[in-house]
Amino acid sequence: MKGRDENMQEVILEARHVNKAFHDPVTVQVLRDITFTINKGEFVSVIGKSGCGKSTLLYILSTMDTDYTGELYIDNELMSGRPDPELARIRNEKIGFVFQFHYLLNEFTVLRNVMLPGLKLGRYSEQEVEHRAMERLKMLGIDQLAKQSAYRISGGEKQRVAIARALINDPHIIMGDEPTGNLDKRNSDIVFNIFKELTEEHNQTLLIVTHDPEFAENTHRIIEMEDGRIIRS
């Protein structure tokens, strides 16, 4: 990992004049001229009422949604207009995801779930990927679950496995779509503390969409949205 001080101002993600509209059944402008940057090591939360476009924005930033106008830079590279396989490779290498619903692959063990993006990247051998996956599970305190089937563990554990999976390729940024939205208080706290630890001890950049004000209060920076616009940044 790079030194912390010299990289504090390194821009990881930048959105310039992003607009998006749904046209079915009637045209609705969802995002209006979104422009902002996220620096390395920042822990950013996006808040706003339901339907304000915060999730839509997240999926555009994640490169999964390509139906927008404007420009998106990740690691100072322009993402807009790239073909699907290239975007898939960038997601694999540079972005980690944590969703509201845990979305583990039930056919695999916990360890295998964590390993899959690493195997796909192919930067390390299978043994190394396994070793790295175990390291991350240990860090999150769930290494004893490694050999369990993914559908046999609890919701809070699943979310931690999802975080381990997001971390496997040392991504530039981790994005979360209400990662604590489906968890009880205790598990929410565990997940929040993990994020906190990641950003403080490992200088991990985080961008989390949430509607939990308490969660947002404790992050470094809050982006608030209303009617498709950023009203506080």
Binding site: N92, R112, L119, G122
Partner: protein, 419 residues
């Protein structure tokens, strides 16, 4: 492209729904097994029916046909050569059925490297005398050893020994149906009268059964020497030369060549037995059609199961895509799933097809019409297994193609947000 990863994901998805997978694979197995069995059995029957006639039929037959001369004298005269001559009441002249110069022809034919063997034959029209009744019939004078070697004569002699026709003087092998009419046991003597009016006693040394009753009622066999004696002809007298070639397909060419070379009539097996080939082809065509239909039905089964699997696995597909698997990877995963169902189902199908064939092959099949057949005939030609195997892969590829493409087009955002 990390194929090991693709394969391992496909394998996990397959094993997670192993019951569905099994149903799909059993569909393929069943259709491939039926395909192989059906074709093997059908072609076994074809071969048997063909061999009824073809194995005993010379590939090329040389003979003299009784027919009017094509070159009437008037056409040869210079004066009228270029006119159009009308000749009425043309009749066949005195043609001998004997093949002229038979010895050298036989030698030349035997020396031809395309020829497996050639044997003379002499046909004699006779009456069998049974009390006051005369029964018309034909005695085939043959070279017993060569006839056995080239045309499996000994296989059709159901009682007695074929070679006795040569070893026992003045002996005859009667057609089974004829023997029943004459009430002649082996060892009995039957009286025959030739067309010239000579009466001749012949000793019965065996029965002959071709599987075609009409033939068995009129035909009988004797050595060529006995037949020559019967007709009062010298030892080089023969009416047919039967030629067997190494390659049956060359028969028309060879026949044309010999007809020109020896100035005789030559008939090839394709012309003589055209109807058999047609029958075989139609039967093969029907069995291929049925087999391919079975495979297509199995293909639809796989198509359905993959489609269902994709709806079930929407979440997994979305998460794979979100974590960096491209549409192409997902497409490959589902193609691999389809193809492995095809591959393993197909392999099992070939195995079961072989087992079914072996079972059919061991079912007794005794019929008086087919003395040489003891069980149902089956053809084990590898080509059917090859076609079956390739077809299982091709069908499952197409069955997997559209579901896989659909899976590759799944929009992860829609799935993840829509929950």
């Amino acid at each position: 492209m990390n194929f090991r990863l693709i394969f391992s994901i496909a394998k996990s998805l397959l094993l997670a729904r192993w019951r569905q997978t099994l149903v799909a694979a059993v569909g393929v197995t069943f259709s491939i097994a039926m395909f192989v069995t059906l074709l093997g059995f059908m072609n076994g029957l074809n071969d048997m029916l063909d061999s009824l006639i073809l194995n005993r039929t010379p590939h090329v037959r040389l003979y003299n046909e009784i027919k009017p001369s094509e070159n009437q004298p008037v056409n040869e005269v210079d004066q009228y050569k270029n006119s159009y001559n009308f000749i009425s009441s043309v009749k066949a002249g005195i043609t001998r059925q004997e093949i002229y110069n038979s010895g050298p022809i036989l030698q030349t034919v035997k020396a031809d490297e395309r020829v497996l063997g050639a044997t003379p034959k002499l046909l004699a029209q006779v009456f069998y005398n049974e009390g006051t009744i005369d029964i018309t019939g034909v005695i085939n004078g043959i070279d017993v050893e060569e006839e056995s070697r080239l045309f499996n004569f000994q296989e059709y002699v159901t009682s007695g020994d074929a070679i006795d026709a040569k070893n026992v003087a003045n002996s005859i092998i009667l057609g089974k149906g004829l023997a029943e009419i004459l009430v002649a046991d082996i060892g009995d003597v039957v009286q025959v009268t030739t067309a010239q009016g000579e009466r001749f006693p012949l000793k019965v040394v065996g029965y002959f059964q071709s599987g075609i009753q009409e033939i068995d009622k009129v035909q009988s066999y004797a050595s060529i020497a006995t037949t020559q004696k019967l007709l009062g002809k010298p030892a080089n007298y023969m009416t047919d030369i039967q030629v067997k070639l190494h390659d049956l397909e060359q028969a028309p060419v060879v026949a044309r060549e010999y007809a020109q070379l020896f100035k005789v009539d030559a008939e090839d097996i394709q012309t003589a037995n055209a109807q058999f080939e047609t029958g075989s082809n139609v039967r093969s065509l029907i069995s291929y059609a049925v087999g391919v239909t079975l495979l297509i039905v199995a293909g639809f089964g796989i198509f359905n199961i993959l489609n269902m699997m994709i709806y079930e696995k929407m979440d997994s597909i979305a998460i794979l895509k979100a974590t960096g698997f491209s549409g192409r990877d997902v497409n490959l995963v589902f193609l691999v799933i389809a193809m492995s169902i095809g591959f393993f189902g197909g392999m099992m199908g070939l195995l079961f097809g072989f087992i079914f064939s072996a079972i059919i092959d061991s079912i007794p099949f005794n019929t008086s019409a087919l003395p040489t057949i003891e069980t149902y005939p089956v053809n084990y030609d590898l080509i059917y297994y090859f076609i079956g195997g390739s077809f299982s892969l091709i069908t499952t590829y197409f069955a997997g193609f559209f579901p896989a493409r659909k899976a590759s087009k799944v929009d992860p955002v829609e799935i993840i947000r829509g929950k």
